[in-house]
């Protein structure tokens, strides 16, 4: 499950990771939160990844991995999962496994900004791809399929940086 604010690119991140999963020879589903789009509001997006075709279409109930696109989300959602991937310099989070990356800084450095917000989706997708054990090439191809050339280049850089920088947190 990806927890993001509408406009941060959570839905696109789910789609990118699904294409990357296909490139890894797997089956995948990217499921946006069903309903109207809402800028600024909490948005849940889901990804299913499997070695076999995915038949089910109901909502995801107990996600194994939760990606948190903004630390502010921790104030409104009780985040608990086997694995958490969070956009943070220093995650203050009690959970089994926590991976963290400063996706906001990566996006700001590359000027990936829209309406004043850093767009962290490709950096977070990079971190998640690493945690999922995907090759970076699989994600790179997904980004190049999704964005036009100039934008693709910047987003590939963001994803690569996060892919390399993501670390497991030990308190």
């Amino acid at each position: 499950m990806i927890l993001s604010f509408g406009g941060q690119g959570g839905v696109t991140a789910a789609r990118l990771l699904s294409i990357a999963a296909l490139n890894e020879g797997k089956y995948a589903q990217a499921i946006p939160q069903f309903g109207a789009e809402r800028r600024g509001a909490l948005v849940r997006s889901f990804i299913r990844i499997s070695d076999r075709p995915i038949r089910r279409h109901s909502s995801v109930k107990n996600p194994e991995v939760i990606a948190v696109f903004s630390e502010k989300i921790l104030k409104i959602v009780d985040v608990k999962a086997n694995t958490v991937v969070i956009n943070s310099k220093q995650p203050k989070l009690e959970n089994g496994r926590v991976y963290y990356v400063d996706a906001s800084s990566i996006a700001l450095e590359l000027n990936l900004i829209s309406a004043g917000w850093p767009i962290v989706n490709t950096a977070m997708a990079g971190a998640m791809a690493k945690v999922f054990g995907f090759s970076f090439e699989s994600l790179k191809d997904a980004i190049e399929q999704t964005f036009s050339s100039k934008l693709a280049e910047l987003n590939v850089q963001a994803a690569k940086k996060a892919y390399e920088e993501v670390k497991e947190w030990s308190a």
Binding site: A14, R15, L22, Q29, I31, H57, S58
Partner: protein
Amino acid sequence: MKKVLTGNYAVAEAVKMARTEFIAAYPITPQTTIVERLAEMVEKGELNADFVRVESEHSALAAVYGASAGGLRAFTATSSHGLLYMYEMCWWVANSRLPVVMALVTRTIGPPWNIHTDHTDLLTLRDSGWILAMSENAQEAFDLTLIGFKVAEQIDLPFAVGLDGFQVSHTAEVVDVPEQSEVDEFLPERRRNKPFVIEPRNPITVGGLTTNECTMILRREMNRDMEKVGDLVKNAGYVRDYDLVERYRLDDAEYVVIMMGAWCGDAKDAIDVLRDEGVQIGMLRLRFVRPFPAEEIAKLDCKKILVVERDCSVGKGGIIATEVKSVANSPVQSVMAGLGGVDVGVDDFVSMFRRFVKGELGEWWL
């Protein structure tokens, strides 16, 4: 080639690969992204079609009617209230024997306002003369759109491709897309001369006043031709084989579940759980409601049948169950679930099927 596509984009891709010549539509959630994508394809020059923006769904299907009567391969898409607004034209298209294809992204009919899936909108077309298909996933939505053009043009009946709002329409999943050359071979250009075409220099009357007998003969012929659709689907010559139904773990099944749409995937996962417990249960999935797969249902030799459906004919209950009961040779139980988009997942089906087997299941699952 395998691609990650939402159900709606898969339909748009199929409409493009069918070399559709005319599209008219009015946006409505959750259908909108189909025609949004098609408009983009036309604008970019990827699809050589006329895209007509209209002020309502009634006008959308009226425009498609004209284009199809003029011999073009024509497409529209809608949902729920949009379908109801174009409902009169649905009957005009059917009784004029026009091979139109329409994607119907299923959505609850309000009030209360609700954009989530429910199959009642699709079933309002039940008696009209449209071929009614219902897909389980994005792959089928893609395939049935292409098969839809082929079969509709062979039998001169319009074809509606159902797909569940959001669960299929907005979920991106892996779709195996054939080569354009394979699609061209499967689906050549539409034959312009049947059953009639409107041409500027050759005026004819369409849908004018006739004798009452003429109307009755028309409906009788439509009913007869609809019965041929099963064979046309089976022998369509598409890259994957299709049939009016899918049989899942049916061979030795003592208990049979009948249902249609996206949630069948969840139900199949639940059937696997019960099978592991030694329960002989399977599914007959309806891929088509019209024509109704009566023979396939009549052939079921089992202890009992459960029909699970996302619709209700108020005053009679489950619409599909009523039809199944009219042909089945085993006892039929009906359960209505998931109306208004209520989420029903694998765990629900496991518990529902267990109760069904034990004879402890009620008529409503909520």
